[in-house]
Symmetry: C2
Subunit: 477 residues, 2 copies
């Protein structure tokens, strides 16, 4: 292990903004993934200048630097697999400007998504890419992962909302990318390149984001299905019909059972349910979208179809989806709900097949997998429930995931829908992007020649994610 | 001048697909800009394989290669300033797939925008980024320039519609970038990097594009203004109010006069007019948007405000805008309408000031400039009318443009709204992006180490665009 020059770092950020205590290092060694690796120091910059100085030092001494926001990454994006500095960006959490006339805001990277939306709300606008982890996810982390969420089907992902940014490069240089205007034609869209680069190309220190009006009307509906295939086909038909849902979510039988068991919601235990929403400034337009989606659900044998504008009813409909994460962890006392390589996107017409495939593969490998997600965006998530104490279950999970991703590639889907690549999805990512890995590596080398920015991730990650790091679980051998 | 190995090229594409006749070379030496430079050969590939073989040869012999679509670039993007091969992509013009279920189409780069939309129309969908030059502009050229147009205010620019692409790199390697799915989170959004790179990073040989439903209802309105400032302020207020126009265009007094003079439209010769449109599947929603925009125009002293769903009325309203280009060339027999550095984007709140600034600067430099454009996207175009025979008028134009762009930068606007950078806007681009030019150059070098892909453009372009190439005008000294 290289030695960190603590004195130099203290001179940059002050003693109170450095942590090297083993217990602190341990905590910062994991995110929301299954991975763990120890950093050498935690550094908490408060200004752009400090980030520049830290990078100049790290670049000179070739110390790995991994920027970290809320730690909600699910694929090990911020697990410091090669040690080095964890750059905790949460102290840079100022909302610098809310410009209603020019329809943008400027924020520091440590601003939490929900806090931004809280600040925007009095002005009748919102920042729409918001992922499910918005209570802790920071804008910087969302940019690094090109985050998206339930409303991205209508309003787009982070990449669509980022107009520009300031980035500190590996050598400490500060660059202004993108613009504060709605259009910008050419000259390399470097801010779009930074979005989704998982901290491997630069440290975002400021972002210019667009926002949109909060709609006057929201209507949410639900439909139950006796077969997963019918539900999947309904999703495909809704999107192919040009409907504009502001939300289109799938929950399967595993998810429904889990939620019923832990929340006592009394949901009908069907094979699958679709939750759909439309929003807008004019009720007739919202009605139009909702009626279209209801009709398509009916065509695909949907049952118990209903929809409501009432906030309480909407909350009730969405409750099953919202509480899915905690519920899954209580599905079976012997099975832990793990954040593994658990999301993907496939073309709409493959949604049904994908959902069925997940269950078939899970059964064959003696684990439980649930199919759910923001299917209106082509996005399908899974959760793997398994006995994490048993080594063979990790092998089962690994094999199941490999098969899921083999299928995804075979139908022109993608490894990375929302949760990023990090460590857990790197093997599949490398297969999917096999012909552009050299290009990717040449860009990385050009921008970060000493490979200090979040090294060992994406195409640099080890092939076997199970052995890539220490797992955050005690596994019996 | 280097020697082209004609035999080798003939072996790749066949004799009929090579042109070296001086008259052909002359024609391909210009686009829709003021620039001209002679290429060494025109090569017209018909397959991806041929493009790969051409690039392998060019990379080995370090021959510049400039891909060319419809030749509608307005900043000299395809003018081969360092000679070499013009790669005429128009023979690769197949629409490969229209996939209604998965809501994408796949096309070769030589497909003309209007032809794509003609093919999509029977299915009730359209490809929305469409620029004004859609009768000749190709999808490949639109990707290279991140083209956008009248409807981009609602539907986005090319960068928003491109899901994925196949690209031949400088060394002849074929890479698949992006995906066929709606979301794709991370791992470097290289397809977004290619969009707007003006042929300097690779040759697009196939693109996967999204499309959207053709709306059932379209309503277009118009408002006249006695001051340019009022019109500009109305634009800002419309966008700040969260309105969703499907079109929001400004035409100023110069434009109106020109159109009246040549088309006899009898438009009221006011200081400025706004043309606005809303569209959708539900008439009430369209009404809502139109009424909102009408009310805001009225608040800003708009007059003669009216709107119509009737296709004939809409055509009449839009006629003045549509015929602006040919009309401007007839504004004054002694003045030619030139495609110079003629577009920019500024934050909405600066629209009014920008429009007034254009007129003020033009007056001071004894030229005529018109302010118009897709202002709902923050985009403002100008046309410069000048006596192209007079050398001093070129100097006047250059000075005026410099001042316009100095202003644009001072209000956090951008040099490149829609028309790209190429040669004409390079000087301003370099000032605007001064802190990221090194980054840009390092990426270019990593991807195209021999600098053969459209060399001498963007940040590589000469400082003085007037002397950068032979002008396409006979100028008296």
């Amino acid at each position: 292990m290289k030695k960190i020059d603590e004195t130099r770092l203290k001179n940059i950020v002050g003693e109170h903004n450095i942590k090297t205590d083993p217990s602190d290092l341990y905590i910062y060694g994991s995110d929301s993934s299954v991975h763990h690796a120890m950093p050498w120091a935690i550094v908490r910059p408060e200004t752009t200048r400090q980030v520049q100085d830290i990078m100049r030092y790290a670049n000179q001494d070739m110390i790995p630097v991994t920027a970290r926001g809320g730690g909600s990454g699910m694929c090990g994006q911020t697990v410091p697999i090669q040690g080095g500095i964890i750059l905790d960006m949460k102290r840079m959490n100022k909302i610098l400007e809310i410009n209603l006339k020019d329809v943008y805001c400027r924020v520091e990277p440590g601003v939490v998504d929900d806090d931004l939306n809280l600040a925007l709300k009095p002005y009748g606008v919102f920042y729409p890419p918001t992922p499910a982890s918005s209570r802790i996810a920071t804008i910087g982390g969302e940019i690094a992962n090109n985050a998206s969420g339930v409303r991205s089907v209508k309003y787009g992902a982070t990449r669509d909302a980022v107009l520009g940014m300031q980035v500190v490069l590996a050598n400490g240089d500060l660059v202004h990318l993108g613009a504060r205007t709605r259009v910008e034609a050419s000259g390399y869209q470097l801010h779009k390149l930074m979005v989704g680069s998982e901290g491997t190309l630069g440290i975002v220190v400021e972002a210019t984001l667009s926002f949109v009006p909060i709609p006057e009307f929201r209507c949410m509906g639900v439909a139950n299905f006796d077969s997963l295939k019918d539900a999947g086909d309904a999703i495909g038909s809704i999107m192919a019909a040009g409907a504009v849902p502001s939300m289109l979510e799938l929950v399967d039988s595993v998810a429904i059972k889990a939620v019923n068991k832990t929340m006592n919601l009394g949901l009908k235990e069907v094979a699958a349910a679709l939750i759909f929403e439309a929003d807008g400034m004019v009720q007739e337009a919202v009605d139009y979208e909702i009626n279209k989606m209801k009709a398509i659900c009916k065509q695909h044998n949907g049952q118990d179809i209903y929809a409501s504008y009432d906030p309480k009813e909407r909350e009730k409909i969405f409750m099953g989806r919202k509480k899915l994460f905690p519920a899954l962890s209580k599905y079976d006392d012997n099975l832990a709900s793990t954040a593994l390589a658990d999301d993907m996107a496939v073309p709409y017409s493959k949604m049904a097949e994908m959902a069925e495939k997940i269950h078939e593969i899970a059964d064959r490998h003696h684990i439980v997998m649930t199919a759910y997600g923001h299917c209106g965006s082509g996005c399908m998530h899974t959760k793997i429930l398994m006995d994490t104490r048993r080594k063979d279950q990790w092998d089962d999970a690994k094999q199941a995931i490999t098969e899921v991703y083999d299928y995804v590639r075979s139908v022109n889907g993608t490894t990375s829908a929302e949760h990023g690549i990090g460590l857990s999805k790197a093997a599949s990512f490398k297969l999917e992007k096999s012909d552009s890995l050299t290009l990717l590596a040449s860009i990385k080398k050009a921008i970060d020649p000493h490979n200090i920015l979040n090294p060992g991730k994406l195409s640099q990650a080890p092939e076997n994610w199970v052995t890539a790091t220490n797992l955050r679980y005690s596994v019996n051998s």
